[in-house]
């Protein structure tokens, strides 16, 4: 089944990715992530002393601030902050620096579809740039289901609005290990088969959802490769002292 998308991509083709780290001078870690025309800037400050009131002082705490491009901060922004916070809490090793707060500030520069996945990817890269200890990276992707049943990856804003339903999926990054038997397993399955976060909008059938997961997981392998290349290239950064 052939599908024509406005920008000429195929069903499973992602938009061109671009990522640069260490772009801000005051922030401890910063990254800019763009998928096609969607561009997000993330900055990390931390760890700072003390945790917020209702947080557990025996663990590190993560605080997310989402800044939209224009306008007041409303409920959608608060929802994004909560999703980001929970996703990143499961990715970071919280027991290393107890009773500290790490703040992640996300600034939307341009929104052309798949905003939340771009923000999650940007936030992960910023955390790497800041040197916050993490178990693995979170790789986020957006899948849409159309009325006629086919699934496309990484939609633009127009495509997102026309689709019946879409899902934001976050997977752990794919693992390249020297000993395949020694790679991390959770209950017998390799760790990359897990899902960290899934947010859906609209109604889709169960089969469609599982198909999205499959496509999303395949795309996350490609995204992981991109991240690996990007991080290895820029690994000659000077250390950030205060």
């Amino acid at each position: 089944m052939e599908v024509d998308r406005e920008d000429g991509r195929s069903q499973n083709q992602l938009r061109p990715l671009a990522c640069s780290r260490n772009i801000l001078h005051r922030a401890h870690g910063s990254a800019s992530w763009s998928q096609g025309d969607t561009k997000v800037l993330a900055a990390v400050y931390g760890p700072k002393a003390g945790t917020k009131k209702n947080e557990n002082p025996e663990k590190a705490c993560i605080e997310v601030i989402w800044k939209p491009k224009t306008g007041q901060i409303g409920k959608p922004e608060k929802e994004y902050e909560m999703i980001l916070k929970r996703t990143l809490e499961s990715v970071c090793i919280l027991t290393v620096n107890p009773n500290t707060t790490t703040s992640i500030i996300v600034q939307v520069v341009n929104d052309d579809g798949a905003l939340l996945p771009s923000a999650i990817n940007a936030a992960c890269m910023a955390l790497v740039d800041a040197g916050i200890p993490m178990k693995h990276l979170a790789v986020a992707i957006c899948c849409c289901v159309a009325k006629s049943g086919y699934v496309i990856l990484d939609p633009t804003k127009l495509e997102e609005q026309k689709m019946k339903a879409f899902a934001y999926l976050v997977f752990p990054n794919s693992v390249h290990s020297v000993l395949p038997e020694g790679s991390l397993r959770v209950e017998g399955e390799p760790i990359e088969n897990g899902i960290i976060t899934s947010v859906t909008h609209g109604m889709m059938s169960v089969d469609d959802y599982f198909y999205c997961l499959e496509r999303g997981r395949a795309a996350s392998v490609k995204l992981s490769d991109f991240l690996r290349r990007n991080l290895q290239q820029q690994s000659t950064d000077s250390s950030k002292a205060g």
Binding site: G8, T70, Q107
Partner: protein, 305 residues
């Protein structure tokens, strides 16, 4: 790592003394001369009205949007211009999210005064139907990185965004000519704003020794200086605004010297902004030409097998 755990940043006494002593011999810690501006780089986003300005280590993003609203009752034939400043917590560890603090409000007011009261943006051309519909232009300034001298960078970002912004064209229609029809950008080309002149803000820092004056202070110098003054001038030599709020007193001849310096710097900065806008407009025109082969209603459709 210890420096990170503290939430506030303070300059040590040694650093402060070093900066002051170096200035006595006209040396600044980043190697500039006292009357030298840092390198300005102006970039634009994909859409109209979005700019990103980098002044040395300071980074500011400007966004311009427009909406049709009812005009103020005492000015029924004029459009509305409003400026919102956001000191994003990513710019500085001491910036808190939430309500803008006094620095943010002061910055917003300086940029606003430069644009509004000098009539740089023509608000009468924003009126569509007197008393009923006018365009309200909203400028959002996001401070992304605080490397010192936020006012100047924010001002340049606001000007760059205003010069590249385009508002949709609209016409009057309906039975009695009282309805406004807004044409989408694909049907009719959106229009740029009328900007008569570019008010450029230039900031100066004064140090405890009266004759020491620097232009474009970095945030280390801002922590040491005794007073600051921002002058908003344009390339024609008109003074649009001067802001000196507190700090040490300076003699009259120093103020005159500042104004002369500001006028000469304003000319070069105006040229830089105009050149950057030219480049963006050329690119935009090229993009429009390339868009035509694929822009005719390509809905997502499937080929029947």
């Amino acid at each position: 790592m210890e420096g990170r755990l503290a939430n506030s940043w303070r300059l040590t006494v040694n650093d402060k003394n070093f900066i002051k002593t170096a200035l006595l011999s006209e040396i600044r810690i980043d190697g500039r001369k006292p009357f030298e501006f840092r390198k300005i780089s102006i970039k634009f986003g994909r859409e109209d009205g979005s700019s990103e300005v980098q002044l040395g280590q300071t980074r500011v993003m400007g966004m311009v949007t427009a909406q049709l609203v009812q005009p103020y009752r005492d000015r029924p034939k004029e459009g509305i211009l409003s400026i919102f400043t956001e000191f994003s917590p990513m710019a500085d560890p001491s910036f808190e999210p939430g309500r803008p603090g006094e620095l943010a409000v002061e910055l917003g007011r300086i940029v606003d005064r430069g644009l509004r009261e000098s009539r740089a943006v023509d608000t009468e051309s924003l009126c569509i139907l007197a008393g009923k519909f006018v365009w309200a232009i909203r400028i959002d300034l996001h401070i992304l990185d605080n490397g010192g001298n936020l006012v100047d960078a924010a001002n340049i970002a606001a000007l760059a965004a205003l010069l590249t912004f385009r508002r949709p064209e609209c016409s009057l229609g309906g039975e009695d000519g009282q309805e406004v029809i807004v044409h989408p950008p694909e049907i009719r080309e959106p229009l740029p704003l009328t900007v008569h002149h570019l008010p450029i803000a230039i900031s100066f820092g004064f140090f405890s020794n009266e004759s020491i004056l620097v232009i474009d202070p970095t945030h280390n110098e801002e922590a040491v200086m005794g007073g600051r003054m921002t002058t908003t001038v344009n390339a024609n030599g008109d003074i649009c605004a001067i802001q000196k709020s507190g700090g040490e007193g300076v003699p009259r001849r120093v103020i005159m010297q500042c104004l002369q310096l500001a006028t000469s710097k304003a000319a070069s900065i105006t040229k830089q902004i105009k050149d950057a806008v030219e480049v963006f407009n050329t690119e935009r025109a090229l993009r429009k030409i390339k868009r035509h082969p694929t822009s005719t209603g390509n809905d997502v459709r499937e080929k029947q097998n």
